[in-house]
Amino acid sequence: MITILDYGAGNLSSVKNALDYLGMDNSTTDNPKKILSAERIILPGVGSFGFLMDQLRKKNLEKPLKKAIEKGTPFFGICLGLQALFEESEESPGVPGLSIFKGNVQQFRKGKVPQIGWNKIIPEKEGIIQEGFAYFVNSFVAVPKDPTIIAATSDYYGRYVCAVQWKNITATQFHPEKSGDYGLCTLKRWLQ
């Protein structure tokens, strides 16, 4: 059973639709207890960094989420769900992130913002994230201090980190639920 964390940003249907299509049991919750006992957790990302962190705190989800991740529950963060793993973001100065990884989140310095469209995924290590094209909608990217967590990079007027993987944590800047077959296969690999 996969638990989709609903922090109140609204539309979670595309993640749910993708899991349903793949035949993966899933449920959506904002109940802290269910997060703590979840078998697998997906944190989808819609909204702003500040909004996400505020909601996690208001709904008492931050601590159970961190605890679940620390005890080894397989975790998949999507877009903002990746960014939230870091310490802070230029999008919402002064709002602390989950701080599971060291580093911050920065706005693209060049090109049109947001980046919208399909970009090439260049794997930086063996694992769930493989070569292909994935769909991105983002103005901000994570800049990890520890390069060993980087699972894949992509290029938008310069290389940036588009996926991280470390122990039980997988997170992508792209949207696997909107990346056609590539995205569905990525989710499948995470489950296996």
Partner: protein
């Protein structure tokens, strides 16, 4: 590098896709789910559904269409046509649309752009601009090409972007349906005026015209309708050609 996008546009009337009847090998060429799947399999980067249903009452069927497509096709879906309020947008997003395009409603009430961007994020908000040449400028036309506004299209593009549009869908009313190529000057001028992606529309006729809109028009995406619907080319044909012409595409 980010790739250039090819986006098939499907006209939907009362829940059925109209046009696109060129697919004789499809059992039901009017079924939005079947067509969406077919375009997905051909490598379409996104899909746009344009609701051309006349009455607001029947327009509700579009929500069902979006819901059904979103359950089986996992590429971004944009819905436009007759979207008038923030509530309309919410309902479509909840049904599974990733973006909603605003046209007449945004011109009449530009506030809706900022309200929608604030509530759902600017990436959900596509502002569609129908532009018609008027001397050396372009005028914004609304109500499906029927009503002139006196508004300058370039100025409106800038305003829409500053209000929170995430992308602009720019249609040349002069070129639309002619297959004589996109209005490159229009696309290029708008692309130079804003810092958000531009989807060019109206006039795709040959593979060269699609190459031109990227290389000369500086578009980020090309919307294609009849060329794909009547089977002249598949999405895959278009992308294979563009790749040969050294344009970065997902293939």
């Amino acid at each position: 590098m980010i790739t250039k996008r090819i986006i098939p546009c499907l006209d939907v009337k009362e829940g059925r896709v109209v046009k696109g009847t060129g697919f004789i090998n499809l059992k039901d060429a009017g079924d939005p789910v079947l067509l969406a799947k077919m375009y997905n399999d051909q490598g379409a980067d996104e899909l746009v559904f344009l609701d051309i249903t006349a009455s607001a009452e029947k327009r509700k069927t579009m929500v069902g269409v979006v819901r059904a497509v979103a359950k089986e096709v996992f590429i971004p879906l944009t819905v436009g046509g007759g979207v008038e309020t923030v509530d309309d947008i919410r309902v479509l997003l909840q049904a599974g649309a990733d973006k909603v395009s605003l046209n007449t409603a945004a011109v009449l009430n530009p506030d809706i752009i900022s309200k929608a961007a604030e509530q759902f994020g600017r990436q959900c908000v596509v502002v569609a601009i129908d532009a018609k040449r008027k001397g050396s400028l372009w005028e914004v036309i609304v109500r499906g090409g029927r009503e002139r506004t006196g508004k300058d299209a370039i100025a409106w593009a800038k305003e829409a972007a500053s209000l929170g549009a995430g992308e602009l869908l720019v249609t040349s009313m002069d070129q639309d349906g002619t297959k004589a190529g996109y209005d490159l000057e229009l696309t290029k001028t708008i692309a130079a005026s804003v810092n958000i992606p531009i989807i060019a529309s109206g006039g795709a006729g040959t593979l060269v015209s699609i190459k031109d809109v990227f290389l000369e028009g500086n578009a980020d995406a090309a919307l294609i309708a009849s060329l794909l619907h009547y089977g002249t080319f598949t999405t895959n044909d278009v992308k294979t050609y563009l790749k040969k012409e050294r344009i970065s595409v997902r293939l």
